[in-house]
């Protein structure tokens, strides 16, 4: 079981967290016309990188989203920061 440091609550067991998506996925402007392949890419395509990954997670017990940098091979957590901080 991994330990993730929530930027708001500190280190907690991974069972308290929910994966929300890879960082940097932007929702297409759906008021405009979007080709089916582009929408499918948005819905389903994942980079699934080996090594350093940037992801968005939710700490379910405080409901806050945050950015986590971790290594998908060694499972080492490199950094976590609030999504808001990341946007700045």
């Amino acid at each position: 079981m991994q330990i993730f440091p929530c930027p708001f609550c500190g280190p907690r067991n991974e069972t308290e967290f929910h994966f929300a998506g890879e960082l940097g996925k932007v929702r297409p402007a759906t008021a405009e016309k979007i080709a089916a392949p582009d929408w499918a890419t948005y819905l389903y395509a994942q980079r699934n990188e080996k090594g350093l990954v940037h992801e968005v997670w939710m700490h379910l017990t405080c409901s806050e989203l945050f950015v986590m940098e971790r290594d998908s091979v060694t499972m080492q957590v490199l950094d976590t920061r609030s999504l808001r901080e990341d946007a700045q």
Binding site: M1, Q2, I3, H18, A20, R27, P28, A29, T30, A31, I34, A36, W39, Y42, L43, V56, M58, L60, S63, E64, L65, T74, M75, Q76, V77, L83, R84
Partner: protein, 931 residues
């Protein structure tokens, strides 16, 4: 008797004899014995039959490395399958049976299978039983193979404790190195936990005459006392069975036999691995005979249990550690000859008992053959943690290489087979430093399986894999070690290849003419030893796994004799009263249709969305347009996933310009709240929208039925009730007993209906007032079962029951926002995909049965006859007391266009007829709703 008890001082208590039986015969052992040591002391050496060929087998090792002696043990009427005899402590009254053998290990009826070994090589069953169909033969083959039978009785009270624990330094292994490291760390002020899988500390030390000038027992006691004095903890009979992410170590602490081990989830800052090393077998003809044992195993039996495994012993070893063993065994009275395995091919002679050993033309009459092909460090946990292995040419073994974070290996697992070197490494590591490369006096002549040599030479004892099977696998191009493992099942038995993996890899290397380190190893995975599944499960059942949410009105429901049950995580009334459930439920439905039903709707979601951007936010979240909703008004709508499927339905009320209340389904509150939070924080300005889940803070009481308005009038609230003042889908705020009260006129039954929401603490007073007013008008409380029927009569859906993962809102008859809503909303683009536009989508319909027929089974398929295929299925089905006949809802391909069609309904082989109709079976014009 070949194997027997000696007078050597050991770790058994000779004052406490224990009686037990094996394969129906009575024996006696002592407290401190294992099943295997007690049997050996009684001269019993055939303790099992092999997995495939049913060959007689005796113990190879004395502890976790033994692949052979596996038993089903009954104690006090409770039966435990697959107990390793070498690690199972002897208990008075144990009845042990060898697995995979009948009537006994000594006389197994299926031993004849061994004659056919020529045809039973690796892959035999798969190749032979391909035609016509493997599945035809599989059950019979599985019955013939396998180990112990699982008892079908549930073991009452067999429940594992689970402990979450942490420490600064975890030392794994209680031998010389582990004890020294733990003491050094504890005396350096660290919080230390030392674990050892034996019930008695000391590892291999008990074999030694002395250590650092004193007797081993005294040295061990001194270290243990120093560790505990410095605040360290020692867990014996505790196996570290796996290392997981971020320094988590799984520990199984064994209690008395027959109880579930206690699971410790130990989080350690630093782990010192002192797990030792094992003797590896030598691959020669007949090396699986009972009486062929490991050198170290024989020494352990003598040191720990006072058992000498044979009288005339041939000691076959390629390494320098055999010298001490020879001295020890001779002192105990054994006649012993030394053989060098490099002097020629070896062959064990005999059948169920070893009668001798031959090497070339030399024959030696011995009753026991002790073999060691070198030491294999126990690097399992190192690999679990992601540590690398390096090949050591001097030691002919894979040793810990690049270390995983926070782990260090000391002692024999690190290749330090000399005691002084081992202690020095351990003390360095215990003090927090990393020991360097140590010198070694250990020497051995490389000795590996010899491909092409004659005879049946066993590689994996437990799964009956021979050298020839490895050669066959190589010929058939299963040369990767992972393929070799799966094709031959080498290393896949319950011992996980502790004795066989190195020999298997070496055999493959030799067959291919490659250096051994190039062949690589298979993946080491937890658990290190078999552990009961119960340990992972623990007490996590029922309430401890998923605590029920409780209603504020539970005492009132209990007083009214409610049948309480779990619905969507809440404990709520299914119906009220004692008697036949169906009659009571039907009476409640009729009450709600003729007078009014009073229903505790408190679990309904009450999630507030507030802030200057709240309107735009809910407009984006909902499929339906919400921005046009006026304060004091309510709208029914759907939330979709980005894939366009219906995630939840329910009403949303606008309290004022910047404040909405989302009334999502009772069982979807948590997922909806998470969904809202995710979109609020990602893609919106979180300072302009706030989400506040008040579901558990407010209670809701619904009054539904033709008399609902009269009941509300009797409460004398400050609200105008006539339909023109308070129409359907509007909301009023007032006070009850000086407390804010919200009244929403919405309906899930198709009748005039009010939802009254109030602070949780005020709910009992409101309930009592409503029930009192209701009873005067022949209204009564109703449970959720009645509500399910009432809503189905109207064709109102329950998301997740009447919808599936593909259902989109236009499948449910709500197509307008899809075509008309001008702004973006979640799932919008998906509603225009090819799939969403397909003509054969499953749509919601009603289903009517011919007059006099019984109700359709939920889940039954509607089928087309030619070609036979499913068109959809029944999602809800009830006997309607209001209408006097069964009703049903279903999802059917192209449903709207099929209304009026009669179709076949298939269920478990029975075929019936049903007519597709509109979902709403009661008051389709909605006159009662708008009353």
């Amino acid at each position: 008797m070949t194997s027997h008890r000696t007078s050597r001082v050991a770790l058994i208590d000779r004052l406490q004899p224990l009686r037990f039986s094996f394969d129906g015969k009575e024996y006696q052992g002592y407290k401190g014995d294992t099943l295997a040591s007690a049997l050996l002391a009684n001269g019993v050496r055939v303790m099992g039959r092999s997995f495939k060929y049913h060959r007689p087998r005796g113990p190879w090792g004395a502890w976790v490395d033994d692949p052979n002696a596996i038993m089903t043990v009954t104690l006090n009427g409770r039966t435990f399958p697959n107990c390793p005899a070498t690690t199972t402590p002897l208990v008075e009254g144990m009845q042990a049976r060898a697995v995979n053998a009948w009537p006994s290990a000594a006389f197994d009826i299926k031993s004849g299978l061994d004659v056919f070994h020529r045809w039973l090589s690796a892959g035999f069953y798969y190749k032979t039983f391909m035609w016509p169909n493997w599945h035809l033969f599989e059950p019979m083959i599985r019955k013939m193979a396998g180990l112990g039978d699982i008892s079908r009785d549930v073991l009452k009270g067999y429940s594992a404790d689970q402990v979450f624990d942490h420490c600064q330094v975890l030392v794994i292994g209680g031998g010389a190195a582990g004890l020294a490291a733990a003491r050094a760390a504890a005396e350096a002020g660290k919080g230390v936990v030392l674990v050892d899988d034996h019930p008695v500390l000391g590892g291999g030390l008990h074999q030694m005459p002395e250590i650092e000038g004193i007797a081993p027992a005294d040295w061990i006691a001194e270290q243990a006392s120093a560790i505990t004095s410095a605040g360290g903890r020692i867990l014996t009979a505790t196996t570290a069975f796996g290392v997981y992410d971020h320094g988590l170590v799984g520990l199984a602490e064994n209690g008395p036999f027959g109880t579930a081990p206690r699971l410790h989830r130990m989080r350690a800052e630093r782990i010192v691995l002192a797990t030792g090393a094992l003797d590896r077998p030598i691959t020669f003809t007949g090396n699986d005979r009972p009486g062929v044992m490991s050198v170290d195993g024989a020494c352990e039996y003598l040191a720990r249990y006072g058992v000498l495994v044979g009288r005339r012993i041939a000691l076959v070893s390629n390494n320098s550690l055999a010298d001490a063993a020879e001295v020890m065994l001779k002192e105990a009275g054994a006649q012993l000859i030394r053989l060098n395995p490099h002097d020629g091919p070896l062959q064990a002679l005999g059948g169920k008992q070893t009668k001798g050993i031959s090497q070339g033309s030399q024959h030696h009459a011995v009753d026991t053959i002790l073999a060691s092909g070198g030491m294999t460090p126990l690097v399992h946990l190192w690999r679990h943690a992601g540590g690398k292995l390096d090949w050591c040419e001097i030691r002919q073994a894979l040793l810990p290489g690049t270390a995983p974070d926070g782990m260090v290996a000391v002692g024999a697992v690190n290749g330090a087979f000399d005691l002084d070197v081992s202690l020095s490494e351990a003390r360095t590591a215990g003090a927090g430093k990393t020991p360097g490369v140590s010198p070694t006096s250990y020497g051995l002549a490389a000795l590996w399986p010899d491909p092409g040599s004659k005879g049946r030479q066993w590689i994996d004892f437990q799964h009956d894999v021979t050298l020839k099977d490895v050669e066959l696998a190589a010929r058939e191009n299963y040369v990767s070690v992972e393929h070799l493992k799966r094709y031959t099942t080498l290393g896949m038995a319950s011992d996980q290849g502790k004795t066989s993996n190195m020999a298997g890899l070496a055999a493959m290397a030799a067959v291919q003419g490659r250096p051994l380190p190039e062949v690589g190893t298979t993946t080491f995975r937890p658990p290190f030893v078999p552990v009961p599944l119960e340990m992972y499960h623990g007490h996590h059942g029922k309430q401890l796994w998923h605590p029920l949410k409780r209603l504020a009105l539970e005492p009132q429901h209990r007083a009214a004799e409610a049948a309480l049950g779990e619905y969507g995580g809440w404990l709520r009334p299914g119906w009220y009263g004692r008697g036949k459930a169906k009659n009571l439920i039907h009476q409640e439905v009729l009450t709600a249709r003729t007078s009014a039903g009073i229903f505790d709707a408190s679990p309904l979601g009450k999630i507030e969305v507030l802030g200057p951007d709240a309107e735009a936010f809910v407009n984006f979240i909902y499929y339906n347009t919400i921005s046009t909703l006026k304060p004091g008004h309510i709208r029914y709508g759907f939330m979709l996933t980005e894939g366009g499927s219906v995630m939840d339905d329910g009403v949303i009320a606008r309290l004022d310009q910047n404040r909405f209340v989302i009334s999502c389904s009772s069982s979807h509150v948590d997922s909806v709240r998470t969904h809202l939070e995710a979109w609020r924080q990602d893609g919106n300005d979180p300072d302009r929208i706030f989400i506040h889940d008040l579901t558990q803070h407010w209670a809701t009481i619904t009054v539904a039925g033709p008399k609902a308005r009269d009941i509300l009038a009797a409460l004398a609230l400050d609200v105008d009730l006539p339909a023109q003042e308070f129409p359907h889908m509007t909301l009023r705020e007032t006070r009850f007993d000086d407390t804010p009260l919200r009244i929403a006129r919405v309906s899930f039954t198709g009748d005039l209906s009010y939802e009254l929401s109030i602070r949780r603490t005020k709910a009992p007073a409101l309930w009592d007032a409503v029930v009192k007013a209701g009873v005067a008008l022949e209204a009564a409380p109703i449970g959720i079962e009645a509500l399910s029927i009432l809503r189905a009569e109207k064709g109102y859906i329950m998301v997740g029951k009447d919808t599936d993962g593909e259902t989109m809102p236009h499948d449910l008859g709500f197509g307008i926002p899809r075509l008309k809503k001008p702004v973006a909303f979640i799932g919008d683009r998906s509603l225009h995909s090819d799939k969403a536009n397909a003509s054969n989508r499953k749509a919601l319909v009603g289903l009517a049965v011919p007059t006099g027929d019984t109700l359709l089974p939920t889940g039954a398929h509607l089928v087309e006859d030619t070609p036979p295929r499913s068109l959809g299925y029944v999602t809800s089905s009830y006997d309607s007391p209001t209408l006097g006949h069964p009703i049903a809802l279903g999802l059917v391909e192209n449903g709207a266009a099929r209304i009026g069609e009669t179709v076949s309904v298939w269920h478990l082989g029975d075929i019936r007829k049903a007519t597709i109709c509109a979902p709403c079976a009661f008051d389709p014009e909605g006159e009662r709703l708008n009353a």
